[in-house]
Each structure stands twice: as structure tokens, then as C-alpha cells.
Symmetry: C2
Subunit: 330 residues, 2 copies
């Protein structure tokens, strides 16, 4: 099988190396004969793509690499495009993707790291760290007390890889975890699960709200100004999804008014956020630069293990575990 790995041109942290590939093969014996090529530039991509059966690449490159109508002509043997992120939204709409090519995302890579980030964010909000950060800027020593997380309710919107990792950690701290997802299948780390349609009904119970869903046309503006008003006063929100999943201006207004007590966000509109943006300066808001789910030590190894698991399924004629449905957007 011919695999091509197209790395981003300038990201030394997450470039997949030949050594990592060799280690992945050693961890995954019996993969059968494979030829692999690596490139960072356009020339390397152009050289590899006519023969490639599998391409592993970054989501942001997809629409530029495969303009609408270019497939299957550009890569007649291509059967699989695997992307290194969980979210597909930078590649939407999927008018460029023929049915003959399976699109795989990288879900499963992010759960542990996202779980740690998520529970850190919840603990910070519970302990009133945004207020203490403001006090530290002012040099003000004023105790504000809190209790423990036990028995507090967290609503997690999206209990896939990211949200599931956070739910698992929250349960370990004795929180009541309410999952909101497509359908209402129970989730092993949620005390209750509700379908998306029930979101309005559970919001008034959300002492903590975690946004961990993919960005699709259905989830854009999911946490709208109206829904923020349905949260209990002083609620706290964590966003590890995408900036457009909430109404960013409405969130900042709600922090200013006290409807929200604090937020931790790993995403913003736009990214990178310009230096003078209001999001940086609104009291109660903690901003991190889109790092919540990327485990720098283990990311590439997990990415390659997931790819190999899917290639085994392809070889054996089984459904590909990470295949996504572009019409749903995840």
C-alpha cells in the first residue's frame, strides 16, 4: 500500500517523522507491505499524489490541495484521506470529496489531554481563579472561598473523544455529569445523557457548561445570547470546541453583567486573536491559544496508531472506525 504523509510546512512540534513511522510499524506488526513517502512542500506532494492510496495530512491543507473537481483525476488510486485533527470544519463544505475516497478524522488522539485540560478549567473556575488573576494584576489580597466539586452539575455538550475525556475526569471528582449528544445513547462517564433537542431544558441546571462538540452548521452559535440567559446566574463555561460554537460577544457581555461568573476558552474568533481584542481583557475570561487537546509527546504516535488500525480494517474489508460522514460534519 502506498501511503503519503504531507506534513505542514512549518510546524516542528507536530511534524511526523520517518523514525515515528518506523516505531509505529514496530508497535503494529503484520501491517503488510507499505511504501511511505514524506513531504512538507508542494513539489513533494505533487510527486507522491498520482500513486498514493492513502494520504495523511492536516485539515487546513485539504481544500487547497484538492480543489473541487480535482478528485479522482489528480489521485486516481486514492482510497483514504486521513486528517490529523478531530474537527473537520476547516475542510467544509465537502464538495471536493468524491464518494470513492473515505475521509478519516483523528478522534481518539485527544481524549486524555482534553480530559486534563477540561478538569483543570473546571477546577480553576470553581476555585475562582479568574477573579484571583484580576486581583493579582491589581495587587489585591482578598480571599474568596469555594467548596469542592462533589455534587456539582456539569453539562457537557458533545461527548465524543474530547467531551468524553472531560466527563470521565469530572466524574472522578464526584460531579454530576449531564451529557448532551446526538441521539441519547447512554455514555459510560455520564450520569444522564440527553439528545441535542433537550439542551434548552438542561441549561438551567448547568453550574458548569462544557462545549466539546464539533463545529457544524447545526452547532454554529449553539450557545446563543438567548441560551446564555437560560443558564443559572453565575454559571461558568468552558469552550474546547470552536469559537463559533458560542456567540462570543454575548459571552463577553454576560461576563460583564455577572450572568456568567467565569469562562475558560481554548478557542476564539478569529484565531490568532488580535492583540487589542476584547476577549483578552474581559474580567472573568481565561484564554489559551488552542492547545487543549494536543499532547505534544504522544500526538504523532497516537495519530499513526489510529491510521494503522484503520488500514487494517480497510485491508480486511471492515468498516473504517474513524471514517466521518461529511454530510454530518463529523
Amino acid at each position: 500500500m502506498r501511503i503519503h504523509i504531507q506534513n505542514p510546512p512549518d510546524d516542528p512540534h507536530f511534524e511526523i517523522t520517518e523514525a515515528q513511522w518506523a516505531e509505529a510499524l514496530a508497535r503494529n506488526p503484520g501491517m503488510g507491505p507499505m511504501e511511505v513517502s514524506f513531504a512538507r512542500d508542494d513539489a513533494g506532494f505533487a510527486r507522491a499524489i498520482p500513486e498514493a492510496e492513502v494520504v495523511l495530512t492536516w485539515t487546513r491543507q485539504l481544500r487547497a490541495r484538492f480543489p473541487k473537481g480535482a478528485l479522482p483525476g489528480l489521485a486516481p488510486r486514492l482510497r483514504v484521506i486521513a486528517i490529523t485533527s478531530a474537527g473537520l470544519d476547516p475542510a467544509a463544505p465537502f464538495d471536493w470529496l468524491p464518494d470513492s475516497v473515505a475521509l478519516l478524522n483523528n478522534r481518539g488522539t485527544h481524549a486524555d489531554k482534553a480530559g486534563e485540560y477540561g478538569i483543570m478549567a473546571i477546577l480553576m473556575l470553581h476555585t475562582r481563579m479568574p477573579a484571583f488573576a484580576d486581583q493579582q494584576r491589581r495587587g489585591e489580597w482578598k480571599p474568596l472561598f469555594s467548596s469542592t466539586l462533589e455534587g456539582r452539575t456539569v453539562v457537557v455538550v458533545g461527548v465524543g473523544s474530547l467531551g468524553g475525556g472531560i466527563a470521565r475526569r469530572a466524574r472522578a471528582f464526584g460531579m454530576r455529569v449531564v451529557g448532551v449528544r446526538n441521539g441519547a445513547d447512554p455514555h459510560p462517564d455520564c450520569d444522564e445523557t440527553h439528545p441535542n433537542e433537550a439542551l434548552e431544558a438542561v441549561l438551567p441546571r448547568a453550574e458548569f457548561l462544557v462545549l466539546a462538540c464539533p463545529l457544524t452548521e447545526r452547532t454554529r452559535n449553539l450557545l446563543s445570547r438567548e441560551r446564555i440567559a437560560r443558564l443559572p446566574r453565575g454559571a461558568r463555561v468552558v469552550n474546547v470546541a470552536r469559537g463559533p460554537v458560542w456567540d462570543q460577544e454575548a459571552v463577553l457581555d454576560a461576563l460583564d453583567s455577572g450572568q456568567l461568573e467565569g469562562c475558560v476558552t481554548d478557542v476564539a474568533v478569529p484565531e490568532p486573536l488580535p492583540p487589542d481584542h476584547r476577549l483578552w481583557r474581559t474580567p472573568g475570561m481565561v484564554v489559551t491559544p488552542h492547545i487543549s487537546a494536543d499532547d505534544v509527546l504522544r500526538y504523532n504516535d497516537r495519530t499513526l496508531d489510529i491510521l494503522m488500525e484503520n488500514l487494517r480494517a480497510l485491508r480486511d474489508g471492515r468498516p473504517l472506525p474513524n471514517r466521518v460522514d461529511p454530510s454530518r460534519g463529523y
Copy 2:
């Protein structure tokens, strides 16, 4: 038995109320006949103390309430002084305390809350939140990546109630927990325990160092400038003990030089910290105002449960579980 509860004059958060006392009695049946008085002021103290057998009060009040030589004359029937904090250091030296009076601390009240604070602090340091806080102040969007806590080593100095609570949480995240304590008794939440004398030897392994010991003459300046130099470069430190347990100026110098990557401290010298103090402004330092172990919802209930457990032991002639040894300081 005659109990007197002397509340602080102006702390509504932690004032023990008659209702809380009644609830505690309901949770602890069979305590036998007890008369209880409550006061916040000097007059109430003076009225109650000649007949009191047990006093529950705040540590900071002790030396003023019981000047050297005043006991036993001031309170001839007094058998127990129970304090509402874990640390005794504000009451030292103990030249005012006769052997006829048992001093109880409040250990056991703080473990859960301190555990949550401690793991929050470790997660924040691991995720590089101090650097992100600096970037947020500057409006700078620059990703810095990290891995997960699994397999990282944390050295916890003092594995009593606070340090034990933190060790338990750290283990749940897969960390290797190295406890340092008096003696070297194994601790159920530590992978290894070492006696205090081995501190020098374990410091080079401390990716994370948590100070959770009492302040005594032996632990004053425990994290000295010389010992900071024995930590691995880029180490991270959490202080939930007392400000004088570390050399505060040396810690700030080490943050400036990069020897330490980040610190979270809940204590300072002095408290409250003045607005212009260097501790507020040193990059890499996160400061909270002495709130890490005080669970505002459950503190008083736990305090009273611990008191009643000790009073049952007193009645039955058993050793008092929370009795402290003033010569050790904890």
C-alpha cells in the same frame, strides 16, 4: 460537659452557628449531656471561660486569649483547646500552654479541598497557564504545547492531611508520587516515601514539588536557595504550606532566571501581601490569597464532627486523635 465556641469577631464565612452545632449533634448521637455557649467578643469569652471544659477557637486568638501564666488559673476546669486550623504556627511558642490542657488541631478538615487545589495547581503548571496568563496580559496568541501528567514525578513534602489529599489526586492522574515526611512510613497514596533527611536526594527528580508541611523551626526556609538549585531546571513548585517554608526571594529569583518554570502559591510573606510586592508581578508566579484548604460549605460541619470524635475519645479515656505535640509544632 461545658463547651465554649469563640468565633472570630468579623468572619461571617466561617462563624460556627447554633444551627450547625445542632446538626452536628444530630449527626453524632450519644454525645451525652453538653452545654454550649457561643461568643464573638471579649465579654462573651470572659463570661464563659471560668466554667469551660472545652474551648473551640481560632488559632490566631490563642496567645492573646491565654497570656503566659494565665492558665490554669483563668480557666481551672479547662481540659481541651481545639483550634479550627491545621497549622499551629500562629500560636507558637507554647509557653502559655500547661500540660493539663490538650491542644487539638483540625487536621482532616482540609484534605478534599486541598487535594482539588493541589491538582489544579499541578495541572495549571503542566499546561503552562502562568505563561498563558502573561500572554493574555500582552494580548499574544502563541501556542505552547504540553503532554499529560501520566508518568511525571511529583515530590510532596509533608503527607499529612493536605499533602495526602494532593498525593491521592496526583496518583489518579498517573503521576509518580514521592512523599517526604517525618520517618519513612509508607503512605497509601505515595509510590515511595522518604524521611526528611532524604530531601536533598529526591529534589533532582522533582519535576513538580509540592510544599504541604507545617511551619516549624525545622521547616522554616526548607526550600532554600541552595535546594532550589538542586531541582531540575524548569521545575514547578506549589506552596500550600506557609510562606516562610520557602525562601520567597530565592523562588522569585529562580523564576526570573528560568531555574523554575512556574509556581502556584496560596501563601506569602507577609499576609496580606502589599499591593506593590514583587511576588504579584514576577512572570511565572500565580498567587491566591490563602484559600486552598478552606471548603466554605463544609468546613464548620467537619470541624464539629472532628471535635465530637475527640470528645468521645476524652469521655472514654482513649487518646485524642487530633491532639498535637507543641514541642514538635504539629
